[in-house]
Amino acid sequence: MASIGKILRRTFLIGSAAIVGGVAFGVYYVNRPAKNPLKPGEGEAALTPFILIDRNGVTLFAPRAEMGQGVKTTWAALIAEELDVDLDQVTVLHGPAAAAYYNSAMIGESLPNKGYDISNFQHNLGEALGVIGKALSLQVTGGSTSMKDGFERMRAAGASARETLRQAAADRLGVARDQLQTASGHVIAPDGTKIAYTELAADVAQMEPIEAPLRDPSEWRYLGRTQPRLDMVEKATGTAQFGVDVRLPGMKFASVRMNPKLGGQMNGFDDSAAKAMPGVEKIVDLGNGVAVIATNTWLANQAVEAIEVDWGEAPYPPETDAIFEQIAKAFDADPNSTMRDDGDVSTVPEGATVIDAEYTVPYLAHATMEPMNGTALFSGDRLEFWGGNQAPTFMQMKIAEAAGLDTEAVEVHTTYLGGGFGRRAEFDFGVIATKVAMAMPNVPVQTTWSREEDMRHDFYRPGAMARMRGAVKDGKAVLIDGKVASQSCTRQAMERVTGMPGAGPDKVLVEGFFNQPYAVPNYRMSGHIADLDIPVGFWRSVGNSHNGFFHETFIDEMAHAAGRDPLEFRLELMRDEHAPSAGCLEAVRDMSGWTGKTPDGVGRGVALTYSFGTPVAQVIEVVDEDGTIRISKAWIACDMGLALDPENVKAQMFGGMMYGLSAACYGEITFAEGEVEQFNFPDYDALRMHTAPQVEVQVLETNRFMGGAGEPGTPPAMPALGNALFDLTGQRARTLPLNKQFNLLV
C-alpha cells in the first residue's frame, strides 16, 4: 500500500490480485477501492484490472468504447509501452461495466477556466476533482477524454506489472532484478534464458506489486508512433461484431415504434392486423410505444408499422418557427452564465466601427451508420445486455431500473459501436431492448430500430441562436459582446441520469464561445438557457458545434469590417494570448499557401476553434463549377500537445471535419405537428465520396497539456466553409444548413 501522500498526488495506487492461474494488474482509486469488475474471490482486494496474465496469455483491457476513434489500439499501446509486450501478441478486450472505470479527465473539463490559459495549479485541481467522476460512475466515452484519462494510469499499471514479473524471475533464478531484461512478453536472463510472462503469472499473484518510474518519452517504441489498428482486419472482413451483429441461440428479432411526438403519451393502439402477419410472435405494449417480436427483423418491422397507434401530443411547440421563437425569448431573461467578462462592453471605444449579427443553427441528428439497437436476455432474476454504448455503467443502472433488478443482476456487454458521436452515451435503446426482452423471458431478443425510428427519436444537438455585437478600430477587434441561446443538453442529460437537472452555470452551453484564445480588451460572452422539452443531447463537440460557427463567423465579419485579411486578423489577436493556437493558424496558412487572394471561381475561408484542450485551424476551399459549388480542398492543423498515434489523430481530425461539413451543408432537423420531418438519409444527407474535399492534416505538439482528438476537428469546419462561401460569393452565411442559401453540389 502506498502512503496517503502518494494518494493525494496521484489519486490512484497500483495493485494486483490473484486470478485463476494467474494475476491481474490494475489500479486502486482514492478513498476506498471500487468494486472489482473481475469479481475476485472472497478476501481478495478489489482493483480495476487493466492487465491479466495467466497461462493462456496476456490480456489487456481497454475500458473505453471503440466507436471508430482507435482507442482500443492506443489504450493497449500505453500498457504495452511499459509492459514490454508486442501488440500483435496480446488480446485486447473491452472491459466490463464497472464503477472503477471512472473517467477522471471528463470532470476536470468542467472547471470554469478557459482551458487554454490553464495554470499548473488549475491543472492539478482539475486532476483532483477527477475523483468526483467516481461518484457519478462516469465510465463514459466522450468529451475526447480517453487518452488524457488513460495516459498515466495505463502506463503505471504496465510498469508495475513488468517490474513485478522481473522480480518473480529474479527470485526464481536467484539473481538481482536489475540483471534481468524484459522484451516481447519475456524476462531475459544475462545468459539469454527467456522466461515467458505467462509462466511467471502464478508466482506474481503472491507478490506485492512493485512500483516503477515511467519511462522517458525518448525511450518509447509505440507511443508517439502510428500503430496498425487492432480492429482493422475485422472491420475489413465483416467479422467485427457490432451490437446489431450479436447472435445468440434461439434469438428473436424485434422492431419498435415510439411516439414521434417526442415525450408524448400513447393513448392506445390496434394491433389486429399486425398480429396476423408472418413471423410475428408477440406484440409488446411499452406504455409509450409498441414493439413486435418476430423471427426476422424485417418481418418485425413490417408488423410494427401495421399497428394503428393513437399518439398523444408533444410537450413542446409543434412547429419549428415557434420553437425558435422560444429560443429567442431566452435572450430576454438574465443569462445563465457570463464566463468571460473582460474590460467594459457597454462603451464603444471612440472612433470604432460597430458590427452586429444574428446567427441561427438548426437541431441536428447524430445519424450513426448503425441504427440504435440492443439485445437483451431476461431470465427472471438476471438480465444480460449486448450492444454498442458509450456509458456502460449508466446503461447498467438504467437497465436495472427498467427491469426492477439490482444493478449487480445486470451484465452489460459492450460491442463495437457503429458510430457514437454522443448518441450512444444515452441509454434509451438499452431500456427499450430490456422492456422488449422482458416480454419473452429466457429468450434473447434483439431490438433494432428502423433508420426512420432512429432519426426521429434522437437526443438532438439543440438548435441555437447567437446575437453578436462587436467593434473594430485601427484594423483590430476592440470589443466583442456575444450572447448564445439554446436548450441545455447538460441539464437534460443530468436529469436523465440522476433525476435532477442540476443548477448553476452551464459551461457546455458556452464552450467554444467564451473560451476562445483571442486577446480582445472588451470581451463579454453570455449563455442563455431556452426552456423547451425537445430531447437534446451530446453531439460530437457539443456546445462547440454551434459556438464555433457563431464565434468564427463573427470574427470573419469583424475582419472584413476592419479591412483586414481574416487569417492575419486572427493571428494578431492570438499570438500573445495562446501560442499553440497561433501556431495552428500559421501551419494552415503555410500548408494552403494562403495569400488572402483567390482567383475568380475559387473561395477560401479560415477558422480556428479551441475545444477539449486542442486548438484546430482549418482552411476550406470551394470552387464554382458552372454555378454549382463544390468543396474542393481542406487543410487542418491541430495541436494536442502529445499525439500518441499521429496517423490516428489525423483520421480523427479529418473525420471530425467531415462530420462538421456534413452538418453545415445539409444537416437540419425540423418539426411539424410535433414530429421530426426528416425520416432517412435522403432527407438528412452527409458528405459523400464526390462531395468530400481532398484533405491534408498537420499534427503539432507544442501544447503544454494533452488535448482531445475525437471532437475538436468538428467545430471549425462549419465557419471555415461559411467563410469560404463568403469569399467566393460575397454572401454571408448566418444560418445553417448552407444548401438553403447556396447551390452546393449534391
Binding site: M67, G68, Q69, G70, P228, R229, D231, M232, V233, E234, K235, A236, T237, G238, T239, A240, Q241, F242, V244, R247, F253, P278, G279, N296, T297, W298, L299, A367, T368, M369, E370, P371, Y416, L417, G418, G419, G420, F421, T448, S450, R451, N648, A651, Q652, F654, G655, G656, M658, Y659, S662, N680, F681, P682, A686, R688, M689, H690, T691, A692, V695
Partner: protein, 154 residues
C-alpha cells in the same frame, strides 16, 4: 416456401416469405452479419453485396428476385486470407467505426472488377452511393488506387 440461394459458393435453404429483402435473409436467417443494415431505402450502401458479380443494395432485393449467386463480404476474403482490396483497406487504415466498410469494400471490388484502373472521377461516380458518417473517404480513395495498382502487378 423454401428457396435455395447460393451464397459465397454454398447452397442455403431458406424458408421465409418471398418479399423478405435479401439483406434480412443474410443477416437474420443465414447468420452472415458482415452485410450491414443502414437505411433500408438504398440510400447508404451499407448492405451492398454482389449478385453474379454486380454490386447491388441487398435491402432492395426481395428473396424471390435474387437472380444469381450471392457474394457477401465474408465471401470476398477472410482475416487469414484477405482479398487484395481488403489488404489495401488494412494498409491504408481506412476504417474508423467500420460499420459502412463492408459495403464500401463490396462496391469498390465491383468497380475494380469492371475498371481495373479507375480515375478519381470514376471512383466518385462508383462510390457516391456509399455513405460513411466517420468521413473516411480520403483513405477509401487511396485504398482503391492502391488495390488497383496491386491487382495490375498480380
Amino acid at each position: 416456401m423454401a428457396t435455395t440461394l447460393t451464397i459465397n459458393g454454398k447452397p442455403h435453404q431458406v424458408d421465409l416469405p418471398d418479399d423478405v429483402p435479401l439483406l434480412w435473409v443474410l443477416r437474420d436467417e443465414v447468420g452472415l452479419t458482415g452485410t450491414k443494415f443502414g437505411c433500408g431505402v438504398a440510400a447508404c450502401g451499407a448492405c451492398t453485396v454482389h449478385i453474379d458479380g454486380e454490386a447491388v443494395r441487398s435491402c432492395q432485393i426481395a428473396l424471390s428476385d435474387v437472380w444469381g449467386e450471392v457474394t457477401t463480404i465474408e465471401g470476398l476474403g477472410t482475416p487469414d486470407n484477405l482479398a487484395t482490396i481488403q489488404q489495401a483497406w488494412v494498409d491504408h487504415q481506412v476504417a474508423q467505426c467500420g460499420y459502412c466498410q463492408s459495403g464500401q469494400i463490396m462496391q469498390a471490388a465491383a468497380l475494380l472488377a469492371e475498371n481495373p484502373a479507375p480515375s478519381d472521377e470514376e471512383i466518385d461516380e462508383a462510390m457516391q452511393g456509399n455513405l460513411c458518417r466517420c468521413g473516411t473517404y480520403p483513405r477509401i480513395r487511396a485504398a482503391i488506387h492502391d488495390a488497383a495498382a496491386k491487382m495490375k502487378e498480380a
